[in-house]
Amino acid sequence: MKKEILKLRGVKVHFPVQAGVFNRVVGHVLAVDGVDLDIFRGEVLGLAGESGCGKTTLGKAILRLVEPTDGEVKYISQDDDETELTSLEKKDMDPFRKKLQIVFQDPHSSLNPSFTIFGSLQDPLKKFGIKSKEERRKIIGDLLEAVNMRREYMDRYPHEFSGGQRQRIGIVRALCLEPELIVCDEAVSALDVSIQAQVLKLLMQLKKEKNLTYLFITHDLSVTEYLCDRIAVMYLGRIVELCASEDLYNNTLHPYSEALISAIPVADLDKQTKRIVLEGDVPSPVNPPKGCPFHPRCPKATDICKTEVPTLKKYSTNGNEHYASCHLIDLPEIS
């Protein structure tokens, strides 16, 4: 039986746009505009989409690194206790900060250059009640070994490490309080392909050992295919398709996902793929187009797309749940 760990309901993050002498608010960037999403315990949920579609903002909103403007983020503990996170006071958030952690994209800015690894990792441990220095050193040392690094590295400075090593230290930091869910915000995008594979393998191994759940934010669909149980595709702050990962590749429903998938390079000369090239740029999230946000670039757009906003509807492919928001899907909708 699948159990949820997080339930997002109508999460919105709007950033005010200020202009003029008095910094009047003239509009809002709708970075995340109403996202409903369930994350199940023990799964790897991919969150894909092109730059600027709000994937990172959504990830940060879950951890309240960015305050959501509206909507609910519910955390469900192992004993089925639901807690709404967005309305909590800063102090009351602490026990949940332990459960939810994040691995960042840029290995060069994710470690404090003035501190040794131990120096920058020990404060969170101290805060969450590990008082003795020996114990803190032991925890960090053990985790360093878990990510295939040497214990002694904790006394070194970040500039002494390579990008891949730093990223593994970033993983150690996320793991040090034994979280349940880790948001991997483009965790491997900045690395070489060979190192990417190494870090991904490590992440999967850690997931098995420590019973983790990942929200894997990426723009690289070729990575998600092998990694994720389910994939959510985002466009302009909304989820346009959400399904089991093999269904996304074999039974694509949304034209945007189709275009994304056609862009994955295939290492096979004989295999001819039809490349769908999208025209233009992502529309401005300050005033998204009327109707379906994707219609100005959609190769299949019809009149209804220009006026009516499609909602995320439930379909079934291969016996799996498959959500998509498009007017042009001719599958029976399941309620």
Partner: protein
């Protein structure tokens, strides 16, 4: 084949690594980098000498800096009076030594104190942003737009001339620059991912901004402290001349230098203003070298 010297060195390093004796070096990383900078070390040595000489002035000179000796007026440098004597027969060397006490105290003291105020406000406001930042910014603008001289005049006419009034004014007008520097650094640092990571642990604002972010913002501030030390010493000299700074009976480098306003002295008695001028320049230069060295050694992005 015999081992090359490089091989031997490498073996030694490996041996030390196995014995885990490497970790001892980390404590002195900043000190090491500082000591490798020749100019900074030279600056530090002269700086220390000048400060020690000022502190132990009574031991180094038999004269009283305030005692008027009309029999030995305007004497050129000699074995009795190393820098000669001034128009009232006071020993210039002694006055330079004693003047250093006050001048250095005012310069360094106001620079460090205004840095402390500026950093404390700047870090917090820069990291927090929002209305705290706006208020702090406006207050600093008010203080920076107020002419120093008017402030000095105001305070002197209310409470009379004193050293501490002068320092208070230097701090009031000086913290704004430090604040802006610290704030600007914090604004860029707070977007760094390690700061986000610390926030995701829910650490307190104080721990994040004063413990984790401040060390990365310090290097430009260090340089600024040294620059404003020099500036404050010079400003003190200027204000003392106008009769607004340190009371004239207390010897300071500025007070000594001000006899050079008299064209007669400037032309005929070089020893009254030359040596003290050189001491001021050398001291300011040394402070700048030290600041440079500190910036290089505390900058975490410079390796080595």
């Amino acid at each position: 084949m015999a081992k090359s010297s490089l091989d031997k060195k490498f073996d030694q390093i490996r041996k030390r690594e196995e014995e885990k004796t490497f970790s001892t070096k980390k404590r002195s990383r900043i000190v090491n980098k500082f000591l490798n900078n020749r100019l900074a070390v030279l600056g530090l040595i002269i700086f220390t000498i000048i400060i020690l000489a000022s502190i132990f002035a009574p031991l180094l000179s038999p004269y009283d800096p305030m005692r008027v000796d009309l029999r030995s007026m305007r004497q050129p440098p000699s074995f009795d009076h190393w820098f000669g004597t001034d128009s009232t027969g006071r020993d210039v060397f002694t006055r330079v030594l004693f003047g250093g006490r006050v001048s250095i105290f005012i310069g360094l003291g106001s620079a460090i104190l205004s840095a402390v105020v500026g950093i404390a406000v700047g870090c917090y406001a820069g990291y927090k942003g929002g209305w705290i930042d706006v208020i702090a910014l406006r207050i600093s603008e008010i203080f920076m737009s107020f002419p120093q001289i008017i402030l000095v005049l105001l305070l002197v006419s209310i409470t009379g001339q004193s050293l501490f009034n002068l320092m208070a004014i230097f701090i009031l007008t000086g913290w704004g620059g430090m604040y802006r520097l610290a704030r600007a650094r914090m604004l860029s640092l707070r977007e760094e991912e390690y700061v986000q990571a610390l926030r995701s642990f829910g650490l307190s604002t104080f721990t994040i901004c004063y413990k984790h972010m401040l060390p990365n913002a310090l290097s430009p501030i260090m340089v600024n402290i040294t620059l404003s030390t020099a500036m404050f010493i010079l400003t003190e000299a200027g204000l003392s001349f106008l009769g607004l700074g340190v009371p004239l009976n207390i010897p300071t480098w500025g007070n000594i230098l001000n006899v050079a306003q008299d064209i007669l002295i400037l032309q005929n008695y070089w020893w009254m203003w030359g040596p003290v001028g050189i001491v001021i320049s050398v001291f300011v230069l040394c402070v700048n070298f030290i600041g440079d060295g500190l910036r290089d050694s505390t900058d975490p992005s410079q390796q080595g």
